[in-house]
Symmetry: C2
Subunit: 388 residues, 2 copies
């Protein structure tokens, strides 16, 4: 049953081949000082950096740079970004990159005017911002996290072996995001397919809860079918605009809060994957892929009706003459085959996890309620072991 | 292929059994003078009026009333509403009712401070508002139009035999809408099922265009399946909260601009239905139902691949060993059977249309581009005749 909720998503999106026009439309609405945040510099090679700089200059902005945001942004980098934003007196933080860069920009935005330690306040105590928030905007170059239209912000603390996400309210959502599918064409295949699985995982985290015929579940089945259709096309031909644009749009709607409305969710695959990320610094989407099959096969009996529905409505399994268990299992088999055909990392060993790291991974895994099964530490260890 | 677009939907929704709490949260954000707009008074019988008044009084508002908004709001009523809003110096227009009341509230909102004739400016010349717009909010009591989260506003001019919709920009969208599925429980069955078909028609108007594998089409298939599942449950038991809540949520997303993103649309069924509405004052959803089968069977050959996909993905037609035409036709047959089982009006004769009115209907029908076939006057006449 759809629970009670309040919904609003204020982010304005500019989508398509001419989406950069949106940047020039929006920039005049903000103050002079722009902190330009990006990652390892690939945007300088593919020309996106030059386009963004040209738009900023055309709009007469003072540009301050904060480069080197890593794939799993660290708390140390966050402290550095806060200093840079303060020095720049930033009126706008413009993230140019993927989810990590956008997540990081949000973390900086709520920390610039915060007197407390942001790691402690937002990621340990999960408090809401009480200070002025610097507006964030995004030019997306990598698809997956949905960070371009939500309040999610994941930060990693290597010293504490913790990778934690805070989902902020709408006041922290990007004010606008520029989504040009062509900007994702030059992404290396490994990152591209990791992003594809990140999208699937976002949908499944919200799909596998409840026992009803919730409209949100029907929308998610549509998003999943779109992704399953387009991902192999994009792998074969990364410059297929139709496939890349549909995947980009699917990614945004997979995690911009819509499909979670009225549902309980536990996000346990992300909790498992984030523990792996904190210990190995592996690519986020691959950590999710590596633990997913063991996790879903383990919880299947606790949400059997939904796993059966998933098999039939998403993977086209013919249920005729089969037990519910057989139908559900066949759906997961097809999902695994699709993942393998994409080239996703299907086990933790390939991400550098060894048997003797499992105790540590279990300790780093947050246990959540809202799904079909609240995991015990023994069950978490069992899932990690089955994923080796 | 997904075209270029810009997307933003600023409406905040409060959904569920306790959604009225949202009204009390929001009211303090607006000025003292509230113009309370509603229809024929059913809200006084079912207690919703009393709840709304209590919230307004609790928030210390000066309440001015504008009752008697008819199912197809007329241009004369619009002029009257503008006078009332001016006299009240309205800071907020609160629509309590279904799509007609909400559509009307938007028409008033853009006309209060407008020096020109609003019918001419907005509905004949399709101009955008250039004056101050009075904020609109909505407490929804009837599901179908999606008016609670979009800029649509349909006004009827009986003298000119025209029923015309203007789709305003986000500045005219309701600032917030209160969606309590229980508020729809007492709606008479005829209006309820007319609303269900209105939802389906909204989705199909946006679905039947293009030849690609657009993510929006996949989302629409999910919305359609949710509606097809829940509508018969709601007909059998109108107080089934799960069914009514899912339908309410489906209706909002069917027409809050999301699924149209990157697509061409012609809305031709609405053009046909609105002509019927202008001549007969019949219930909107029923005018759509009465012309749909003749229209879709006529255009099927022009969009055969999509009609085949519709049959398979939405209606579960098994395509094995059948021609594309046979699969597509079977999908439309299943749709027709579902419509009949709901008790929808399946022909124009039952809405009071006679053969000799067809010339007038054709003249009142706007012809649009963006779908599979731009209709000629002869084709429109043929579709109306086949719908008698």
């Amino acid at each position: 049953m759809l629970g009670n909720f309040s919904y609003c998503n204020p982010t304005r999106l500019y989508f398509g081949k001419d989406a950069m026009k949106g940047l020039e439309e929006e920039l005049p609405k903000y103050g002079k000082n722009v902190l330009l945040v990006y990652g390892g510099g690939s945007i300088k090679k593919n020309g996106i950096y030059a386009q963004v700089k040209a738009a900023l200059e055309k709009c007469g902005k003072n540009v301050f740079e904060d480069a080197g945001v890593m794939p799993n942004p660290t708390v140390e980098k966050l402290y550095e970004g806060v200093e840079r934003a303060r020095a720049a007196k930033a009126d706008l933080i413009l993230a140019v990159g993927g989810g990590s860069v956008c997540d990081y920009a949000k973390a900086v935005s709520v920390s610039v005017h915060c007197d407390e330690d942001p790691w402690e306040k937002y990621y340990i105590r999960f408090e809401e911002p009480t200070c002025e928030i610097v507006p964030v905007a995004c030019v997306l170059t990598m698809v997956g996290t949905g960070s371009e239209m939500n309040g999610g912000s994941v930060i990693t603390n290597h010293a504490q072996k913790l990778k934690i996400g805070h989902v902020f309210g709408t006041e922290v959502f990007p004010k606008f995001s520029v989504l040009n599918p062509e900007f994702t064409f030059t992404l290396p295949e490994y990152q591209m397919i990791a992003g594809f699985y990140d999208i699937m995982s976002h949908i499944l985290e919200q799909y596998f809860s409840g026992t009803d015929d919730n409209t949100s579940d029907y929308i998610m089945e549509g998003l999943l079918r779109s992704l399953i259709h387009s991902a192999p096309i994009a792998k074969k031909n990364p410059t297929d605009y139709e496939a890349r644009s549909n995947i980009m749009w699917t990614a945004t709607w997979a995690l911009n809060t819509l499909v979670a409305m009225g549902k309980d969710t536990d996000w346990e695959v992300h909790m498992l994957g984030q523990a792996v990320g904190a210990h190995t610094d592996a690519t986020h989407g691959m950590t999710l892929a590596a633990v997913s099959m063991a996790y879903y096969r383990y919880i299947m009996p606790y949400g059997l009706a939904k796993f059966r529905r998933y098999a039939v409505n998403v993977w086209g399994v013919d249920p005729e003459g089969k037990t519910d268990e057989a139908v559900a299992a066949e759906g997961l088999d097809r999902m695994e085959a699709w993942m393998k055909s994409l080239g996703l990392v299907m086990n933790l060993t390939d991400l550098g996890v060894k048997e003797d790291m499992i105790d540590g991974l279990v300790k780093s895994t947050l246990v959540m309620e809202g799904g079909y099964k609240v995991l015990t530490p023994e069950e978490i260890a069992r899932i990690f072991r089955a994923s080796l």
